[in-house]
């Protein structure tokens, strides 16, 4: 296996990880500030992708589609927060799980009701399509490079938002002490709606970005949601930095495991059994990673509280 191939796979792992980060950042933010576990986060990812596909279909503009994804998911998030979620903050996790599970059912079938059962079309814009040759002779799709860059920019923006702005101060205050932000005279209801909408927008953006190279269809959000959970568990709940590190770890483990485990197995057994067993092991790799992190650090790599 050549170095070029390995380098390319590392890039792929990074790109996958960055997209997971967009999902996980929203989830972890929402948990950190409001203490809410949101299973419907995957639905917001789907909403973003569908908004983008619908707008791209109508206007032909990918940028407009991204804007629509951000706006649509944020709007859906804000509405859901105001109608349902805010009744759940004081409830235990169990009620939150059930209510957001119910939201998944409503979102999924509602989307199918509006858009039909067939997958929608969303494509990479022409200026980002095709491969580019990187130093070292790696031919790599421009769009995936753009995803990595976009994801890193969002991570940077999120960092600036939280460390430099007024909303950010309120968010940090909310993570540390919920009573305190009330004492500071912050409108908590509004802050919560904003944070939830922000998390939703991040998920929606991820949905749209990924939707362009995958399939925009009902149910696309849940597998990503579960991976995002794994990311958060590894990174530590409430920690944006943890979400970033966790996402990259999961992305790399998932991608490289899928390549190297079957190769590794070939050293021990005949090829077709090796590919099959290696693939089975690879599908479990991230969960084994999660278990290992848990044994060493039960609150995740950057988790402050249990």
């Amino acid at each position: 296996m050549s170095l070029v191939l390995i380098a390319e796979q590392v890039l792929n792992g990074l790109q996958f990880g960055i997209m997971l980060f967009l999902m996980a950042a929203g989830l972890t933010l929402i948990f950190g500030v409001m203490g809410l576990i949101n299973l419907a986060h995957g639905s917001l990812y789907m909403v973003g992708a569908f908004c983008a596909a619908a707008v791209a279909g109508a206007t032909g503009s990918f940028l407009l589609a991204l804007v629509a994804a951000l706006a649509g998911a944020a709007l859906a998030g804000a509405i859901v927060e105001m109608v349902v979620i805010r009744r759940l903050y004081e409830r235990d996790h169990l009620d939150q799980v059930l209510a957001t599970f119910a939201l998944i059912l409503i979102f999924s079938e509602g989307t199918r009701w509006i858009f039909g059962s067939f997958p929608l079309y969303l494509d990479v814009p022409s200026y980002l399509s095709g491969p580019v040759t990187l130093p070292g002779g790696i031919a790599y799709p421009v769009y995936r490079l753009a995803l990595i860059v976009a994801g890193l920019l969002v991570a940077l923006g999120l960092y600036l938002l939280i460390s430099r702005t007024r909303i950010g101060i309120q968010i940090r205050a909310g993570e540390n002490d919920r009573e305190m932000i009330a004492a500071l005279g912050v409108d908590i209801g509004r802050l919560y709606t904003i944070v939830f909408a922000l998390g939703a927008a991040l998920a929606g953006l991820a949905g749209a970005l990924v939707g362009a190279i995958q399939s925009v269809q009902v149910g696309m959000g849940e597998p990503v949601l579960i991976l995002a959970f794994v990311v958060i568990v590894i990174g530590g709940i409430g920690s944006i930095r943890g979400a970033l590190i966790g996402a990259l770890l999961v992305g790399l483990t998932n991608t490289l495991g899928g390549i190297f485990l079957p190769e590794l197995m070939k050293l021990f057994m005949e090829p077709s059994a090796a590919t099959s067993i290696g693939a089975s092991l690879a599908s479990m790799a991230i969960y084994i990673l999660m278990a290992a992190v848990l044994i060493l650090r039960p609150t995740g790599l950057f988790g402050a509280r249990a």
Partner: protein, 378 residues
């Protein structure tokens, strides 16, 4: 006119007590909600189109949604057998659901006509007299892809499929007729949506062609990412990833790809032309492979009803075996294991106006039965 004739015929039948008066109740279990709903919806619409056109009032259809869950499918089958007292079941899209339902309903003396799923277990050792596959045997389209790869002179194919039984059958089917080397053989995760890693391997492998079987959303993702990767190799696959109901979501990425199918909308016969036209008129979209299979299944059933009473199982089975109906396919007959013997075509994805669709460019396998027929003892 046709309908009133049928009504008159059935009146007559009731009065005279002839064989035609025997009503047949069909239970259709298919996927109408959740992720895979588009396939079930097409199956149902194709089937019901034929039922509507026939206007046979002796045929009653009960339709239920299996949500793509095996336990729900089993429960529905129990309900249809025990409560609705159906004579014939049909409609299941997925092999795993078929494996859950078919053995038990046929053991209870009911007929099962498969509109799609046809796992090898039901074609070989596990074949049963009351089970008929109207679509194909699961391996057929993969075999045809292998045959096409051989004919096209591919020497070093890279092949991939999800890591589940149908995926393994698929690669095995491809290799049955393909004669070149393999540049690589990969099993991906079921439900995987990102193929960057696999594409990198393909690029590095020095392959001269690609065969893939990735049904549903997986195929859409793969093709879009393939198109964007800059790899430029001939791609071939079974019809599932190029079917009418998902081609629009793949878009340009699919153009020019070769795929294998036992049906296409441009098969040149009267039945097929009428089917495509009436399907479009009725539902305002092009029919898919699943719609065509549903349509044929209903017509097969109607043809048997015209010949025998369903209560006389042996006679009804014989009538089904004759397959005396006008198929949308050019040739259709059953082999000894109740699976079709038919031509399997190579299609190419093209754009007609704004719509992506397929056209036939050749025949990959003529009069193909299946690899398991010899194992079937019945």
């Amino acid at each position: 006119m046709l309908k009133s004739l049928a009504a008159a015929a059935s009146m007559l039948a009731i009065l005279s007590g002839t064989a035609m008066a025997e009503p047949v109740k069909v239970g259709m279990i298919t996927t109408l909600s959740g992720g895979g709903a588009s396939l079930g919806v097409d199956t149902r619409d194709g089937f019901m189109l034929a039922v509507k056109q026939a206007g046979n009032e002796d045929l009653e259809v009960v339709i239920e949604d299996d949500q793509r869950k095996p336990d729900i499918a089993v429960q529905l089958a129990d309900k249809m057998v025990q409560s609705d007292k159906v004579d014939v079941l049909t409609g299941i899209v997925w092999s795993n659901l078929a494996m859950a339902v078919v053995p038990s309903v046929t053991a209870q003396g009911k007929f099962y006509l498969s509109t799609n799923a046809a796992p090898s277990a039901l074609a070989g050792k596990g074949c049963t007299p009351n089970y008929f596959s109207v679509s194909y045997q699961n391996d057929n389209l993969h075999e045809a892809a292998g045959a096409y790869a051989k004919d096209a002179g591919f020497k070093n194919s890279f092949i991939l499929a999800p890591n589940y039984p149908a995926g393994k059958d698929s690669l095995a089917g491809f290799k049955r007729f393909y004669e070149g080397e393999l540049a690589g053989e990969i099993y991906t995760k079921l439900g995987q949506t990102d193929y960057a890693a696999e594409l990198a391997q393909i690029r590095a492998s020095g392959a001269d062609s690609i065969f893939f079987f990735l049904p549903g959303g997986m195929g859409i993702s793969f093709l879009k990412q393939y198109a964007d990767s800059g790899i430029d190799l001939p791609v071939v696959g079974p019809a599932f990833s190029f079917d009418q109901n998902i081609l629009q979501a793949v878009g340009d990425a699919a153009l020019g790809v070769k795929n294998t199918s036992q049906w296409n909308k441009d098969i040149d016969n009267e039945t097929n032309k009428a089917f495509v036209e009436s399907f479009q008129a009725e539902y305002d979209r092009l029919p898919s492979l699943y719609a065509a299979q549903g349509f044929d299944t209903a017509n097969l059933l109607l043809s048997a009803m015209a010949k025998a009473d369903v209560s006389d199982a042996d006679a009804f089975r014989a009538a089904l075996e004759e397959a005396d109906f006008k198929s949308v396919r050019d040739k259709f007959k059953f082999g000894p294991n109740h699976h079709p013997i038919q031509d399997i075509y190579v299609r190419e994805v093209v754009k007609e106006g704004d719509v992506y669709t397929n056209r036939i460019i050749g025949t990959a396998l003529a009069d193909r039965a299946d690899a398991y027929a010899e194992e079937c003892k019945m």
